[in-house]
């Protein structure tokens, strides 16, 4: 490594690196904008019918939340009634 000018190497890395980062992100911005337009045009309000998998723990929690919600509702009803 004796004859390398480290600082000028460092600047080369900077140019290459920042160039790539910006190139990448600008490309990404362009594609994301395009993608958004396509999706909004051809798949407006897409609601892909993805059935939830049977993650039991999740389900239990969700069920419990529903139960809790139901109870809260019930109490409200009781209170008002």
């Amino acid at each position: 490594m004796e004859e390398i000018n480290l600082v000028s190497e460092g600047f080369k890395f900077m140019i290459l690196g920042m160039g790539t980062v910006f190139l990448f992100l600008i490309l990404m911005i362009f594609v994301l904008n395009l993608q958004a337009k396509i999706i909004q045009k051809f798949f407006p309000q897409t609601n892909i019918p993805h059935k939830k998998d049977d993650s039991s723990s999740k389900k239990d929690l969700d069920e419990e939340k529903r139960v809790v919600a139901a109870i809260t509702g019930a109490i409200m009803a009781v209170k008002k009634g």
């Binding site: 600082v7 460092g10 890395f13 990448f24 892909i48």
Partner: protein, 437 residues
Amino acid sequence: MKRLLLAFFLLFGTLQASSEPAHDEVVTAGKEYVSKDMGTMVVDFLKSTGLYAFMTAEDTTKMDHGHEIEVSEFSQGWGRVIMILIAFLLFYLAIVKNFEPLLLLPIGFGGLLANIPIADISGPNGFLGILFEAGVANGLFPILIFMGVGAMTDFGPLLSNPKVALLGGAAQFGIFGTLVGAVALTQYTDMFSFSLQQASAIGIIGGADGPTSIFVATNLAPELLGAIAVASYSYMALVPIIQPPIMKGLTTEEERKIQMKSLRAVSKLEKIVFPLTVITLTLLVLPDATPLVGALMFGNFLKESGVVARLSDTLQNALINIITIFLGLSVGSKLAAEKFLVAETLGILVLGLIAFSIGTASGVIMAKIMNKFSKDKVNPLIGSAGVSAVPMAARVSNKVGMEAKPGNMLLMHAMGPNVAGVIGSAVAAGVLLSIFK
């Protein structure tokens, strides 16, 4: 119970005759045992205490991956004491100051264990060494962490307003600025002597992504891993202290009050397609970044697909937690005195701070430049979030914005550059890995 035991005994009693004495052939592992008188035994035992080891530290050599390396008296004695105190300091920062405790506690404890004399817990047969080889040396643990991070990240704000990705790009100036700084120190001073690989690994601290830092350091400068990881997580934790002065210094009161127009709703399909888009761009432009970006996008894809909630859940919990513990301990094992208490560490800490500062400033300045060319004004305070340090930097943007104009919620706006910063750092990492391949 008695009857059971009796039956057992009878069974073995009858075996007595039939079974060959297997023990004759057994050669017990360990070294051969040599009898000593009680006095010698006690003295030998005292010599195996940590206290004795501390007191009799001397210059010596040890084997490290086949090389004989010198280990100074200092790093065997007071060095260890200092490192243990540094571990305690990390615990204090993590618990009392709440600095990234999820990583600083395991890292600190790994550092504590690694500096225990005699036990060699970070050696090839110690459990820290075993964990290190199993997942850090080969880059696996940071990749798995990134899967969990992906599964926890919502890229919605970025999809809603993609152009803010430029802020996440500008903030990467911190990486390269620091890289130049590190080699400049080497070239123009006698204090430090960083190679280009080491300078690159140090620069990545400015990316403000722990797993990315560890991944790059493991590849380019494994000997600096401990210091880089500690600097990386410490400064991430320090974001609320480091960033505000820079943000305020570079913006006018007017600019800080800019109200951004509200983000459009992002459809489920856009979110599902996003990880595939990013991975496709990465493979076209920079394949060397695909391990990091791919892992991040894999986690995000599992999450957004909506059909594998149990896998996404596991990535975000059981798996990332287990790997965080293992990674923290392993990385901490590189905080051995002989590796950490060297002048370079000081350099790394200073340079890391500079990296964060440059990144923050670049993000803010980039926002101001964008405002020159666009009618939809961007509040420059969200530029600082481009360094990533998700979600802390975005919260800082929000907080400073609220100070200037109460009620001006910048949080979701800042999440855009924030997550773009993660991608930006991974791309920068890919460029550096590609250069040295």
